[in-house]
């Protein structure tokens, strides 16, 4: 008996629909978010994460409304990310029923935003979302990852491990780490990246980006030292259910909530 490693289905929501892109292009429709969230709740998902990938303000209000509907029916933790730029955006999502918000590019523009948000709402609801890609190795041969924004198109030059440490020091209570190299490829998480960050920070780390089979979830926990594993398409398109994922992980000695 111990704290369970969490399995978190992720819903990328665009204009009120669940979608899933492969490296953020080639988007496929995966259904109505309220129905999808209810299904994962019934399957025993440990949390649900929403990433609002819509561009416009109006559509973001749609997302808040969806979160509100889900929060009246699904009684497990909900995290909402995407488009969180100001304190009022956080308040709107928390009021809609989110338990945590993911802050991504707004923190890069203004690192103190995470500090202000954690001071205002508490670290427990501030997740630093990091999109990282592997770049040329350090001079001493160690791998190096840097932060990318705009769906992986814009390079910031920021060292991902140092950034995670800094954001946790600023008050982030959790790290949602997405490998942009892996995202949508079904080739598995970037385990070296996940491990480097998980070992560097005291707070829980959620591995994301690249899950194609159940071994990838196991590897994320055992090799990547992640505290939670996030996946989208393997669940959305019926390849695997959450109970199948949990049973597979439990059989490999991982503590899960069955």
């Amino acid at each position: 008996m111990a704290l369970a490693k969490r399995i978190i289905p992720c819903l990328d929501v665009d204009k009120g629909r669940v979608v899933k892109g492969v490296n953020f292009v080639g988007i496929r429709d995966a259904g109505d978010p309220v129905e999808v969230a209810k299904r994962y709740n019934e399957q025993g998902a440990d949390e649900i994460t929403f990433l609002d990938i819509t561009a416009t303000h109006e559509d973001r209000e749609t997302t808040a409304h969806i979160v509100e509907q889900i929060a009246t029916e699904v009684f497990i933790p909900l995290t909402v990310g995407g488009g969180i730029r100001e304190i009022k955006d956080i308040r709107a999502m928390l009021n809609a029923g989110a338990d945590k918000v993911g802050i991504n590019s707004a923190a890069i523009h203004r690192p103190d935003f995470v500090k202000e948000a954690a001071d205002r709402f508490g670290s427990q609801c501030i997740v630093i979302a990091i999109d990282a890609k592997r770049v040329a190795d350090e001079a001493d041969g160690r791998p190096r990852w840097e932060i990318f924004t705009h769906g992986g198109r814009k390079h910031t030059g920021i060292n991902a491990v140092e950034w995670a440490i800094k954001m946790v020091n600023n008050g982030a209570g959790e790290v949602l780490l997405t490998s942009m190299d892996g995202d949508g490829t079904k080739a598995g998480y970037d385990l070296a990246l996940t491990r480097a960050i998980s070992d560097a920070v005291a707070v829980p780390v959620i591995a994301s980006g690249g899950v194609g089979n159940l071994d990838h979830l196991v590897d994320g926990i055992i090799e990547g030292h992640a505290d939670a594993v996030l996946a989208a398409s393997i669940f959305h398109f019926g390849e695997f259910t959450v109970p199948e994922a949990k049973a597979y992980m439990a059989a490999r000695g991982i503590e899960v909530r069955l």
Partner: protein, 221 residues
């Protein structure tokens, strides 16, 4: 018979949407009132004291609204459920924010997990304690009705309760976390029943159906 009411204390510490929704889901018509009004709280049949965030802000918000005394009064009168920071605030003191005096409704202190927390095998444990952990029921209690021992509940906290008595449930996370306390008409939980799926909903339902314990009424013989 008119439906009973439950007041959810709103003092600016966190989102109460989930607590209210969960109560409405299991309440079978019970009136759910989210409020910071002392009179409304005092006249409700039952009271829930939730909360997330830091203890210093929590105590300051309570005092500025006159709710510290209201909660102490409720604790002496009717079913009260403290959740997460609401539980911690019911104790004597907390180590958070350099040391804060709390409401002293229940004996015990709130302590920091520390920066080098380890499990029994020496493995590093992350702080906050975030996620689903097993709660061992250390006493029988109406609020545990229908909930199997060692069921998992959802936790998120960096400070934990260490109480000398009235422990109703405990959880292992490097230290012995007193995950539930029960004393007369007061029950308090570190985890979030409103986020703990079916078992959490069952606990909330049990709270709404919890009669005041017989021992609470003095028996003259």
């Amino acid at each position: 018979m008119s439906k009973s009411s439950v007041a959810v204390i709103d003092y600016g510490m966190g989102n109460l949407h989930s607590v209210a929704s969960a109560l409405e889901k299991v309440g079978d018509g019970v009136k759910v009132i989210v409020t910071d009004c002392p009179d409304t709280i005092l006249s409700a049949d039952r009271v829930i004291f939730p909360g997330v965030g830091a203890i210093r802000d929590c105590m300051a918000e309570l005092k500025s609204r006159g709710l510290d005394e209201v909660i102490q009064e409720v604790a002496a009168q009717k079913p009260l459920l403290g959740i997460c920071l609401g539980m911690q605030a019911l104790l004597e003191t907390s180590e958070e924010n350099g040391g804060v005096e709390c409401l002293d409704v229940l004996p015990g202190a709130v302590k920091f997990f520390g920066s080098d927390l380890r499990d029994a095998a020496g493995g590093r444990l992350k702080v906050p304690h975030m996620g689903w952990n097993n709660v061992i029921q250390t006493i029988e209690h109406p609020l545990w009705a229908g909930i199997p021992d060692a069921s998992r509940f959802y936790f998120v906290h960096s400070y934990y309760v260490d109480a000398p008595e009235f422990v109703a449930g405990s959880c292992d996370y490097g230290v012995q976390v007193h995950a539930a306390l029960a004393c007369d008409n007061v029950f308090a939980v570190q985890f979030h029943p409103e986020k703990s799926g079916d078992m959490g909903l069952r606990l909330l339902s049990n709270f709404l159906n919890w009669d005041r314990p017989a021992a609470f009424f003095p028996v003259t013989d």
